[in-house]
């Protein structure tokens, strides 16, 4: 009850000059708002990416062309992965490797009569669906024969199928991908994001068709290896590396001309990036909050000066110095808390607005820890910025204060 009275008195004091009080909170509102919205987006992105990687599976290993640039060497994009590497890996590591999925990625325009869509074109083998637990709802997926024969067949991602065919069945129809005719043999289930790609906006054709007949390329974009179980990941990776080095005729002592990533490594790299972002973010926010605190202190000093007479009267009717100190400290804290609360709401609103506006491209997630942090900061700022003006107010000599013009 006592604290409520203090709050009400503080609010009354602030209401004396409402506009000025609101301007004073602006710094804190912006500071807190910026932190909250940015953290929400950052946290949302991290959560989003991590969720996508969960789907990747802890037993999967991704292999890319070129060196990673670690160990002080320059990063090279020397292409080196070929379809036969997958075969070699599988045959030499049968006990550890469950399957391999070589992939080639490009983009293309998919047309069905007058309807068309831009899509990612994925050239891969029959193992893709199994490795990613991503299945057809209509028709069938690619087969080994399709790959061997460089067939002109395709499986459409859910979104592409809807775009081109609507509710009509797509199986058996002919579409043109980058000008070449393909027969639709399958439509995939609705999935959304799988790793870094939105597979609903993807069309899948045989690896060999993609590389040799459509894009004229010799090397893969990446190679996914599914190890038999996550516990034996390390020996599996060792085996894979050995096979690749042999296939690429790399001499002992020479560097790998490929890079192997595990889900763990990707998570960690992303985590590192996120940490850097966070540090930068919090620094900027910290500065903005300091500015906000200075703003509040300034306004409070002005307020104390303006209310010098009032302070004199309060002392004359029985206020102790501590009462005056408490009053102005409470007012500063109230401004700050209000600013913090508003900033929290604004930040949350902005982050969610971004999410809606970009249709889910930007994710937003506001963890409770940020809410507590915002409130704590608001209180600290209030006390820190209010203490000096409050002390000045409390030290006023009543007789002189009463004479103040």
């Amino acid at each position: 009850m006592f604290h409520l009275r203090i709050l009400l008195t503080a609010l009354r004091g602030l209401r004396q000059n409402l506009l000025r009080s609101m301007l004073a909170t602006l710094g804190v509102i912006i500071g807190v708002g910026a932190v909250v919205s940015a953290v929400s987006i950052l946290e949302g992105a991290q959560k989003d990416i991590l969720e996508r990687f969960e789907s990747l599976g802890a037993d999967q290993v991704l292999i890319f062309n070129g060196t990673s640039g670690r160990g002080g060497h320059r990063r090279t994009l020397s292409n080196s992965l070929e379809p036969d590497d997958a075969v070699q890996i599988e045959s030499e590591n049968a006990e550890l490797v469950a399957a391999t999925s070589p992939q080639f990625r490009g983009v293309g325009q998919v047309k069905y009569f007058e309807k068309n869509a831009y899509a990612n074109v994925l050239g891969t083998t029959e193992t893709y669906a199994k490795v990613n637990s991503y299945h057809v709802t209509h028709g069938r997926f690619l087969t080994r024969e399709d790959v061997r024969g460089q067939s002109m067949v395709c499986a459409l991602g859910y979104g592409v199928a809807i775009e081109l065919f609507g509710a009509m069945p797509a199986i058996g129809k002919t579409v043109k991908i980058n000008g070449k005719s393909f027969i639709v043999v399958g439509v995939m289930e609705e999935t959304g994001a799988l790793g870094f790609t939105n597979v609903d906006e993807q069309v899948i054709i045989p690896l060999t068709t993609a590389m040799y007949r459509m894009f004229g390329q010799r090397y893969l974009t990446m190679l996914v290896v599914q190890c038999k179980d996550a516990e034996n990941l390390v020996p599996c990776i060792d085996g894979v590396k050995r096979s690749l080095r042999a296939a690429h005729r790399i001499k002992p002592g020479e560097e790998d001309d490929f890079t192997v990533y595990t889900q763990e490594q990707i998570k960690q790299q992303f985590g590192d990036t996120a940490k850097i972002f966070a540090i930068v973010l919090y620094s900027i926010a910290g500065i903005s909050i300091i500015v906000g605190a200075i703003g509040i202190m300034n306004i409070m000093l002005v307020s104390v000066t303006e209310r010098t007479r009032e302070i004199g009267v309060r002392i004359a009717v029985g206020a102790r110095r501590f009462d005056i100190l408490k009053q102005f400290l409470a007012e500063a804290s109230t401004i700050s808390l209000l600013g913090g609360g508003l900033g929290l709401l604004c930040g949350w609103a902005i982050a969610n607005f971004m999410r809606t506006y970009t249709g889910g491209l930007v994710e937003a997630y506001t963890p409770m820890s940020i809410v507590y942090l915002a409130i704590t900061i608001a209180i600290l700022v209030g006390v820190a910025s209010g203490i000096y003006p409050a002390i000045r107010a409390a030290r006023l000599d009543p007789v002189q204060a009463l004479r103040y013009e």
């Binding site: 004199g312 309060r314 004359a316 009717v317 029985g318 102790r320 009543p398």
Partner: protein, 261 residues
């Protein structure tokens, strides 16, 4: 200021009994305001002792002084000194906030009733006339039923008509037993008290009871309405005290100020 020492008060030896109505008159710079601030425990004398209701003020802690100002002393100022953008009721409540009393609203309302302004309880100073503001200030001063009321030029910012009304309130309060010390530079106001102290250059040059003869002299030149009000009020009053000699060494002191400088 600079190297010279300014004595606002010098050699003041004064005592005031409970229930007295005293006026302190003097020109600007005569030290009357300083005297009032010292009597009200707002300012500390640089020499001498001050006793209030038997307690010696000089060594008191700030907390105790604040308590005195809160419960036993009421201030009324020339410029009202109400808090703007705050209702009359909330203004009157201010002392009660520091008394930490519950049911504050009720007590404040009663104080406003006493000065006849309950109907303006929700109005802000900016919405009220000068006289009404001063009455709210008086309500604030008496809300804790103090034993001493100190008024510094209470009618200074008011026209004579309103000034009458305010003096009426003081007379009412005095009738109920309150001790009132009123500082002014106007003779018509000063003679309305029972006892008048005349100050000049920091010293008391006269300290006498106001006898009827003198009062009539002065009031003769006053506004008719004022006179009528005053006569009505003084009709049932106690007779004025006999004049107190300057250096009386009476044992009974209620408010005693012995000042060396």
């Amino acid at each position: 200021m600079g190297d010279s020492v300014v004595h606002a008060l010098a050699g003041v030896d004064l005592s005031i009994e409970a229930g007295e109505f005293v006026s302190i008159i003097g020109a600007s710079g005569s030290g009357k305001s300083t005297l009032m601030h010292i009597l009200g425990c707002l300012d500390k004398p640089t020499g001498g002792t001050l006793e209030f209701q038997g307690h010696v003020i000089s060594g008191m802690r700030e907390k105790r002084l604040a308590e005195l100002r809160n419960r036993h002393i009421g201030f009324v100022f020339q410029t009202f000194n109400l808090i703007n953008r705050t209702s009359a009721l909330d203004n009157v409540i201010v002392p009660l906030v520091y008394t930490r009393r519950s049911f504050a609203k009720e007590q404040a309302r009663r104080a406003l009733e006493k000065v006849g302004l309950v109907h303006r309880a929700k109005h802000k100073p900016g919405e009220m006339s000068g006289g009404e503001c001063q009455r709210v200030a008086i309500a604030r001063a008496i809300v804790n039923s103090p034993s001493l009321l100190l008024a510094d030029e209470p009618t200074g910012n008011l026209d004579s008509r309103t000034g009458e009304q305010i003096m009426e309130v003081f007379h009412d309060l005095h009738q109920e037993g309150m001790t009132i010390v009123l500082v002014t530079h106007e003779m018509d106001i000063a003679v309305q008290a029972d006892r008048m102290i005349h100050m000049r250059d920091g010293r008391i040059i006269e300290d006498t009871a106001v006898d009827q003869h003198r009062r009539d002299e002065i009031l003769a030149g006053m506004h008719e309405g004022f006179k009528k009000v005053f006569e009505q009020k003084t009709a049932g009053r106690r007779p004025a005290r006999p004049a107190k000699p300057m250096n009386a060494g009476d044992a009974e002191r209620k408010l005693r100020l012995a000042n060396g400088e």
